[in-house]
Each structure stands twice: as C-alpha cells, then as structure tokens.
Symmetry: C2
Subunit: 479 residues, 2 copies
C-alpha cells in the first residue's frame, strides 16, 4: 500500500530513504556538488534537535562561542594523525579579495586545531580550568559519495571542545557528554535506542586517545553513528602548546576533549521510524504535532466547522505545535496524504456530522490506515491528544527497541557471523587486532561499532580467532 513517489523499503531501501527526504520536503541537492539545501520542514526538525542538545549542553555547564570558519593550513598540519585523517577531504581557499593568499586557508572540517591555538592563549593557570565551550557551526568535508543528511560535503553540527587539568576530569567529561547529552537526546527526544561504548583504534577519531560513540540501528539493520565523544589526551595540547600552571607552580599540558553531533541525526530519525507511507516523527521532534483538517462542502458548513475548530483549539497555543489546514482548493484525501508523508503525529478531522455527534476523528501516524483512526469526544480533546502524543513518543521508542533487540545477534564463529551481519548487529566475543578488523571489513563490510560498556562477566571464545577473551564487540555494517 505504498504511496505514489515512495519506493517501498522491501524493494529498495536506499531509494526509499531518498524518496522520503524528497516527498517529505526535508532537503534537496543544490547546484554545488555534495551540498544540500535543508528545506523548511527539515530545518524545523533540526531546530528541535538542536534545541534539545543545546539545553543539555548548557545544563552540563558548557557555554557557546564561535570560532572562525577558515583555518590556516599550517594549523591543520600540527597534529600528525589529525592531518592524515582530514587532509584528503578539505576545501581550500586560495584567493580572496582578488588576490592569491600567501598561505591557503581550509574551510574547517572540524575545529580542534584553531580552537587549540586559541586555548593556548587563553589558558595560563589551573584557575582557568576547566574550559567548557561548545560551538554551533557549519563544517565542510569533501566526500566523494554523498547522501542528504547522512553524508554531505557541508553539514551543520555542534562541536564541543574542553580543556582540563587532569586526565581523569577529561575522561569524565567525555563520558558525561556521551550519556547525559547525546544518548539522552537520541533516546528520550528522538526515541531511538542506542548502544554505547568505546571505538577500537581503527575507528577512533584522528588525533584522539579514546573515542566513545552511540550507535543507532536503522531499519535495514545497519548502524548509524549518532554522536561521538573524544578523549584527546594531551595530543592536541602538545601540538598547540596548551599548558597551564598548577597550584604548586609546575607547568603542565592540559587534557582536552572534543565531541560532536550533526544534521546526520535527521538521517537517523528518518531511518529509525519512517514507513512506506512517508516520514514518521516522534512528537518531541515533530515541527507540527497536530494538524486539524476541517471538512465541509457548503459555505454554511464551512463557517460552522471552522467555528468549532477555533473553539476546540482556543487553548492550544504554547501547548501543542499545531496547524489548521483550511486550504479549500485541496481534497481531504490529498491533505491526509500530505500530512502523513510529512510525518505529523496526530491528524484531527472534523466535519458537519462530527458537529452533530460532538466527536472528531483522530488518526495517529504510527498506526497506518484504519487501525490508527478513532472517534473521540470533543470534550476533553486536549487531554486526549496530550496523552496520545506521550503514548506515541513511548511507542516509537519501544518499537525501535524491540527491533534493535530482535536484530542484535550472537555468532559462535565467522560463518555464522557473516550470515547474521547481513540482518543486523552482531554482538560477539572478539579479541582480534586492527588487521583482523580490516579483513572482516573487506569480507563482510562490517566494522566494530563499539566495544559496549556492558562487557561480559565471563570469558568466551572469540568468533574470529577462536581464542578465549573477555572483550565483547558489536559489529555491523554502517552508514
């Protein structure tokens, strides 16, 4: 029962994703290779995600600031691993104001270097620490293959950059962001359960000592990295001379962290919840939570119904994000379809017959077709919708969690692993090294997503090497 313009997930999952982005009016390609236009509906979702992140970033003691878009190329060269990771994909400004620049400037692919250079000037004493700063910014990575939200040359994100007096504090910060900011927003606002854990050396950020990540499962069983938090140790502090004087007058290098979440999250949102009828949005990140569609034929019916709608919604401002769809050139069916495709959680229809009965028809987006439609008394409609939005938020999370559990497999050996990893995540004992990871990736396209925090209590047999080990890894193919 798929909609016109939307390929079913069964038929072609990749095309389904692109169709949702297109049909729900979220984004489109621009005249610039790999750069998308984020359309108003897509951007409104981003504003809700951004606000949820920003609130938690501030509640955990951080402040926002803004650092330059352009970075002298020499800055990027200072941290060896970092430049190796990012040099191949930077965009370079070589001319400005009509003249060739003496030194090229790169558009920031991430800002550790320019912020590191700044912190080196700001930090003098242990009293200046910790420095807990976040910035909201656009960044640019010249990727070869791009897909809207998931991988684009330019994307929007927040990047936190902190400096601490001790290794322990930096590690605590890294974990606090992972749990209290990223996992909290993705699970409790976006309704997507995640696996949390440590990246292996192969997968960690260029220049980090440890990278932690939250990994969400998409409906095709692939992983999407939804936020990463890096303990940078003293690597960048050494490269940029970020030093401080201790309370007993010794000079020490700082311990720094960085962490980011981006417009990719919109890709995760789409692929975690949506169906063949279009976008499905958890109410907390739905720009419109309720749409009311008045039904009428005559002018007399029109004014009666619109009057009832005005009465019903009188107290809604500030309580729900809602819209009254009184466009009179479009059919009821067209409107219903449009709001379904765009993922509005609750659709309320009200016509002359409803006026007589004192009811309205309420459709919930997470249950397609007749199953999701019920007739509700007009009296108490607000409370009903309030309850329904809460229920849907929870139901979407529960559904995604059930899907994640059913599609997280075990595997006793590499053969079983190969079979299971086609269908979802595989949680296994693994004591292989980086070369083993490379081989598994080459043969199955799967990588270690995380070494989850909930490790095994007892040792077991590595599916790949056959050796006994206590280390558990979660593998998956990924976006």
């Amino acid at each position: 029962m798929a909609k016109a313009g939307i390929t079913t997930r069964d038929k072609d999952y990749s095309q389904w994703y692109l169709d949702i982005v297109d049909q729900a009016d979220l984004a489109e390609n621009s005249g610039v290779r790999g750069c998308m236009v984020i359309k108003p509906h897509g951007y409104a979702i981003w504003e809700l995600i951004r606000d949820a992140l920003d609130q938690r970033i501030k509640e955990t003691g951080h402040v926002n600031a803004y650092f330059p878009l352009l970075i002298p190329k020499s800055y990027l060269m200072k941290e060896a691993e970092h430049i190796e990771g990012f040099a191949p994909e930077v965009a370079e400004v070589t001319r400005a104001g009509g003249e060739e620049l003496a030194e090229p400037l790169v558009i920031r692919p991430t800002s550790e270097t320019i912020i590191g250079a700044t912190y080196a000037k700001w930090i003098r004493s242990w009293r200046d620490l910790p420095v807990l700063i976040n910035q909201w910014a656009n960044v640019m990575r010249w990727e070869m293959r791009t897909r809207p939200f998931l991988r684009t040359a330019e994307f929007l994100w927040q990047e936190g950059h902190t400096a601490h007096a001790t290794e322990e504090e930096a590690e605590q910060e890294t974990l606090k962001i992972l749990h209290d900011v990223y996992a909290d927003v993705v699970e409790n606002v976006m309704a997507i359960p995640v696996y949390r854990g440590l990246k292996t050396e192969r997968e960690r950020f260029a220049g980090a000592v440890r990278t932690y990540s939250i990994e969400a499962m998409m409906q095709d069983g692939k992983a999407l990295q939804a936020g990463t938090s890096h303990n940078l140790g003293q690597n960048f502090a050494h490269s940029f001379e970020i030093k401080y004087q201790t309370s007993d007058n010794r000079e020490e290098y700082c311990w720094t962290t960085s962490w980011g979440a981006s417009t990719r999250l919109i890709g995760a949102l789409i692929m975690a919840h949506s169906d063949d009828d279009g976008l499905v949005l958890p109410p907390k990140v739905a720009p419109l939570q309720v749409v009311l569609v008045p039904i009428f034929k005559t002018d007399e019916e029109r004014s009666m119904v619109l009057e009832a709608v005005a009465r019903l919604t009188a107290g809604w401002k500030g309580r729900f994000r809602f819209k009254i769809d009184d466009r009179d050139n479009l059919s009821m069916g067209f409107k219903a379809n449009e709001w379904e495709v765009k993922g509005v959680p609750v659709r309320v229809e009200i016509g002359p017959k409803d006026l007589q009965k004192g009811t309205v028809a309420v459709s919930r987006r997470d249950r397609p077709g007749r199953e999701g439609k019920t007739f509700i008394e007009q009296a108490g409609l607000d409370e009903h919708i309030e309850g329904l939005l809460d229920e849907m938020q929870q139901a979407l999370y529960d559904r995604a969690l059930a899907f994640q559990r059913v599609h997280t497999f075990e595997a006793a050996d590499y053969d079983e692993f190969k079979q299971k990893v086609e269908q979802g995540f595989v949680r296994v004992y693994f004591d292989g090294n980086g070369d083993d990871e490379d081989r598994i990736k080459a043969e199955t396209k799967a990588t270690v997503r995380v070494l989850p925090f909930d490790q095994a209590e007892e040792a077991g047999r590595c599916f790949f090497t056959g050796r006994q080990t206590q280390r558990i890894a979660i593998f998956a193919r990924s976006y």
Copy 2:
C-alpha cells in the same frame, strides 16, 4: 575615573571601543586575517539578540531553512550590479578533496544568487507564493580594514529571502521586516532608538530597487546601520528565471525581497550604551542580569551568608538570569570591577552586617559609583530587582533617545552642515544627486544615512544646492 585597561571615550573613542571588546571578554582576533573569535560572553549576547529576531521573524510568518555555504562563481555573475558590488571581496575555493575545481566556488558574501537559483525550481504557480524564508548563517566578505563586530571578514547573520506575486506585496514585506522585526528588536530589546527610512541610489544594496534601513546613533555621533531590508523588484527574478503562473494562466516574474541583520548589532550595543567603566547592557540582552556577591571573612560568616543567598534566590530560576559569585580567591573589589566591566545590570552584595539588618546592597550598572548603590530590604528583593530591570531597560532607551535628539542637528547651508556633522547627525532638506553625495562624502566623510519616513510637510531650501525641495535627508559619518 576610568578603569585599568580601558581608554576613556574622550581620549580615543576608537581605542575605547577595542578596549571594551577586549576587557569585557566579548571577542578577539584570530590567527586568520579579519576573522574574530566570538568569546562566550559576546556569543551569549548574540544568542539573546538572535532569539529576539528569530521570534519576530517567525511571528511575521517566516520559516527557517539552510542553503549552501559555497556558491558557484557563475551564479554570482548573473546579476550585473550584484557582482559589481561583491566580486572584489569574495573568498574563493579553488581546490577541494585534493583536486583543482573546474569552476571556483565562492564563500557566500550573501545568498540572493544561490537562493534565487533554488526558488526558480520551487516556484511554479501563484499558489506557491509567497515564499517566506529566513536563514541563520555565516557569511564572508574580504574587507581590508576590520574591527571586531563592526566589520569582519566572517560574520554571523540572518538573511531573509522572500518571493511574491505582486510588487505591492514585496514592498509591504520589505517594510514589515524593517518595522516589526528590526526596529522592534533594536529599540525595544536593545534599547537603541533608530531613524528609519529609504537609502539613496548611491547607498542601496547591489541589485536592489529600494533599500530601507534603520540607523542608530553611536556616542561619538556616528551612524551604525543596524538592519537593512531590500525590495529587489524583479531584478533577481529576471537573472534567475524565478517565474510563476498566475491564476489566469499567464507567466509572470516574481517580486523578491531580502533583508539582513548581523553580529554588527553587538557593535551597536557596545557603542550606544557603554561607558568608561566598561560594557553597559540593557537587561533584555544581558546574559547575566543579576550577580550576587556574598561577603565574608570567617568560615562561619561564609556559611551564614551563603545560606541567606540560597534562601533569597530560591525562586529566581527562570525569572532572572543570575549568578552567585562565591569565588573565594578574589577580593570584593576585583569582583565588583569584573561585573561592572562585563556590563551585568544589577549587582547585589550581602555580608554579615546585612544579615543583621535584613538588607542587601544593590548597585545598578547604568549609574556608576555610589549614585547607583542603595540598601534594600531582603523581603521583597525579587520584586525590587524585577522593577529595577524594567526601569533600567527604559532608562537606557531614554538616555540614548535624548542623546540622539540632542545630536541631531539642522543646517541652513553647507558650512553649517560641515560643522554640525562633526558632532552628530544632520537632518536637512536635500535635493542633490548621486554626484553631490559623492562630493559631500569626499569633503566631510558623511553620507545620506536615510531619507526618513517622516518627511517634511512643506518645502524648504536644500542646504547644498540652494534649490527648494520637499525631500529631507539625514546625513552622518558612519561605521
């Protein structure tokens, strides 16, 4: 009685401005020519201004979206006046992903061109109109002389871009933004009175038919353009083929507008209100509105005073933006100075003696020294502060308005004009042409800031040409 680190305004106004930016921790230069780091205190002010603008932009029916940072150079070439205005100051990306680009990409100096190319795809019928979109973004203009906030190579702003079916609608939109968004925020949130009006041809935006502006007066009598709104006529519609089908099936070009306000506004805020002791902020844009400084010597005093502070501020969350400054390594005088320099509107001091008397000492930032300090009963402190914040918001506006009035002069002839324009704005009859404006600018550095909306009812004698005219112009030197 100037502070250490702050040059007085009398001595060197330019240096005073830079000292405030530096001492109040608002921004600093970065390692990239002309690009500033906006520090947390400066960025927090920007967040408040941004939120005030964003709220009004949405209330007037607009939605946010996001368009690419990079623009193909060929797009910029399509509108003749536009390219002439912006070509000399663009930064060009010529290499990306390790390869030379076939066509250079410019970092947006403004987005009329890429948005115009997008609207041409989006708009088909009169039913698609109006398109009312805003974006929050960074832009880049390679300026030769830069000053933090006032003129920087990269700056943050919002740019609105709308398309309409009729000329009249486009004109209404242009004026609505000027009055209901820009003037409202600058006057009622930032407490800076403005002159509103039309730009002359010499001063209008590259590619516009009409540019409207609000002009604020700084304490040195110079003007700062605080927001501009452009009626672009069909210029960009012709260049980018932005066409629509009318309800009677004719094909027409759209009428478009654009409008922007930027981090320059922080420069306006500094120069409108601050004094030789540091930053002065209207409460509505003060990241911290109240700071409480507990005073104590012994541990016993410390716990008694902090307990009282906790009790006094128990209901303040969500009511005031406040901070308790209980740093115990800094003197009372150091703290008072720091919060004064940073422009916190209200400072509350409370020590053991106050506990006995049931009072606190309240200092208001807009009245320096003893004049601004009063002793207030602890009971009812919240209401007192609430009233004080309102009063200060109004007092700062009134002071700026009085200053603006006193420093807006008339001039009967060019000699008088030359003398007055050294001291402030000059409001005169003016029927000169663009060449006359050029000559006046060359000789006095003053330009027509606006042809104000409140024009004269009767004709008068042009100060420059001596001819009779009804046209009134406001001239000033400007930032």
